[in-house]
């Protein structure tokens, strides 16, 4: 029973932290604070992945989101001198808030009124082996295509960021 209680406490603590830091990303006045809040969100979501017994994906989340993507975003904040102006909102603030609340309420009502076909099976202790097995058998084509996509993204990013040749 202790494991269930621990998982429950972990869910509520990390869920509250995730929502609070996500609000921080949107509401922070300073771009840097927003970026730091984003890292906190990534880490708490990784913790939530652990409570869903998705250990491999949680590690991938920490490595790629909290490690790589947030560093890229901080680079972008540093390279553009918009930091001094702060994290401003545009004129669509009220409609955007309305749309966000509407979407959240719709989704929550839909989720709570759906009868999910739940399974009582317990997940495997470690997901890494099972993920590797299906990634390199049933999903080998998407895996290879993802490699091509990453190559194309790198080349495109280099081409875009290099800019026009001055002649």
């Amino acid at each position: 029973m202790n494991v269930g209680l621990g998982a429950s406490v972990a869910f509520w603590v990390m869920g509250a932290a995730a929502v609070a830091s996500a609000l921080g990303v949107v509401l922070a006045r300073d771009m840097f604070h927003a970026a730091i809040f984003l890292v906190v969100t990534f880490l708490t979501v990784a913790g939530l992945f652990v409570t869903l017994s998705a250990d491999f994906v949680a590690v991938a989340q920490v490595l790629i989101y909290a490690g790589a993507i947030s560093i890229l975003l901080i680079f972008a904040i540093l390279l553009t001198r918009e930091v001094q102006r702060g994290n401003l909102s545009n004129r669509l603030q009220a409609p955007a808030l309305f749309l966000g609340v509407l979407l959240a309420v719709t989704l929550v009502v839909a989720f709570l009124n759906t009868d999910w076909r739940l399974s009582a099976e317990s997940p495997p202790d470690s997901t890494t082996n099972a993920i590797a097995d299906s990634l390199f058998s049933s999903f080998v084509l998407p895996f290879e295509v993802a490699g091509v996509l990453l190559l194309a993204a790198i080349l495109g990013a280099i081409l875009l960021a290099r800019g026009r040749e001055e002649d």
Binding site: S8, F11, G15, A18, A22, V25, V26, A34, A35, L38, T41, V45, L48, T51, L52, A54, V57, A60, I64, Y65, A68, L72, L73, T80, E82, R85, N87, L88, S89, N90, L92, A96, L99, G100, L103, A104, L107, F111, L112, L118, S119, E121, P123, P124, T127, I131, F139, P142, A146, L149, L150, A153, I154, G156, A157, I158, L159, L160, A161, G163
Partner: protein
């Protein structure tokens, strides 16, 4: 023990926060950060379904891994675009990039 609805409601809240941020912010970098929040919310929903509906089959995990891959590619390209826009216009304010407006 938190059930599937707990995770789905949390994911809906995170997605709505991300959507609001993506629509209401001026700085392109903040818009990108809000889009990343939405990706995270979707990943959370995927893993909740994988855990509670099909615990033995890990297709949800595979899907999340591919979403993370595509998100990394998207951020790399998006930030290259941010740099290109900043070099041309000296600003990354999305409200000023309206030359296609009819």
């Amino acid at each position: 023990m938190a059930g599937i609805n707990h995770y789905l409601v949390l994911s809906a809240i995170l997605f709505a926060i991300g959507l609001t941020g993506a629509l209401a912010k001026r700085n392109i970098v903040t818009v990108l950060m809000a889009v990343e929040l939405m990706f995270n919310a979707v990943n959370l929903a995927f893993l909740a379904f994988a855990r509670f509906v099909t615990p033995a089959v890990l297709t949800g995990h595979i899907f999340v891994l591919f979403i993370i891959t595509v998100a990394a590619a998207e951020v790399a390209l998006g930030l290259a675009l941010v740099i290109a826009i900043y070099r041309n216009r000296e600003t990354v304010d999305v409200t000023t990039a309206d030359s296609m407006k009819g």
